[in-house]
């Protein structure tokens, strides 16, 4: 049996990779993907803890996180599409100003 700590460590590594992605990526869509990676790292930790404590609360939390992620992606991608229509680019450095 693999101990819970290994799953938590895996979750940590996944989170770190996601963070690297957010820092290095230049396209809005890809930054989004990296954020999803970090969300999933958190989910993995929650599921592992649910098993460790024998408590379904954490699994419920994961379920809600997934729903949130769906909502976030819907809105986020809509924003990206809108921006792309206006600027013909999804490079975040081009968008670092408040002019429309």
């Amino acid at each position: 049996m693999v101990g819970t700590e290994w799953y938590i460590a895996l979750s940590g590594v996944l989170f770190a990779i996601g963070m690297i992605g957010v820092m290095t990526r230049r396209t809005a869509v890809l930054i989004f993907l990296s954020v999803e990676l970090m969300l999933n790292a958190a989910n993995l930790a929650l599921v592992a803890f649910a098993r460790a404590w024998g408590d379904l609360t954490a699994q419920t939390a994961v379920f809600i996180v997934m729903t949130l992620a769906a909502a976030e992606v819907a809105i986020g991608l809509a924003i990206i599409v809108t921006i792309f229509r206006k600027r013909a680019s999804t490079n975040v450095d081009d968008l670092a100003e408040l002019k429309g």
């Binding site: 996944l14 869509v29 769906a70």
Partner: protein, 187 residues
């Protein structure tokens, strides 16, 4: 046995994540994330969260990632961005910081011990079937559940409002366009 599964799945997860972060082609990056998500779903199943595993594949890999790919193809964003980095050493910084974070989190995690015997915990989870999760969700957490459903509705409406173009209804009789001014109307 489960150690073997864990190693295989962990390798898959990490590889997929690295592809997501490193691949220059956006579609490849998204596919890496899909691999990670599916491997994560299998990990959930090994962790007695069957329902979450299925939902992970259906919602995350099956719907959200398809949406991502859809947008990537729609915007033709597959080509790598070649713009100049505002901070010259951002990649090195990210790698260093990421490695440090991964190491720190890993060390903290490995120093942690299970609070109670796994067999006992697994019994309480009831395999994480839809019934078990649903019971918890709709009794103790019914308020967050409803709040999330409202949030989803708002997100759907919001994204439609954001993306929808104003539809110009074609009129049955074509209007005469004034052309004396030398400007084309609506161009």
């Amino acid at each position: 046995m489960s150690a073997f599964f864990f190693v295989v799945l962990a390798v898959l997860i990490i590889t997929g994540a690295l592809v997501t972060v490193i691949a220059s082609n956006a579609v490849h990056a998204a596919l890496g994330l899909v691999a990670t998500l599916v491997a994560l779903a299998m990990t959930y199943v090994t962790l007695d969260a069957h329902f979450l595993g299925a939902v992970q594949v259906i919602v995350y890999a099956g719907a959200i990632m398809v949406l991502f790919l859809f947008v990537i193809m729609l915007l033709d964003a597959t080509r790598p961005v070649t713009a100049h980095n505002p901070v010259g050493f951002v990649n090195e910084l990210a790698a260093l910081g990421g490695a440090a974070l991964a190491g720190a989190l890993g060390l903290i995690a490995l120093g942690w011990r299970d609070p109670r015997p796994l067999a006992e915990g697994a019994a309480a989870l009831r395999n994480g079937t839809p019934g078990a999760v649903g019971e918890t969700l709709l009794t103790r957490f019914v308020l967050p559940f409803e709040a999330v459903s409202v949030l989803l509705l708002v997100a759907v409406v919001g994204s439609i409002v954001l993306v929808k173009r104003p539809v110009s209804q074609p009129s049955a009789v074509p209007e005469a366009q004034p052309i004396e001014s030398g400007e084309r109307a609506g161009a």
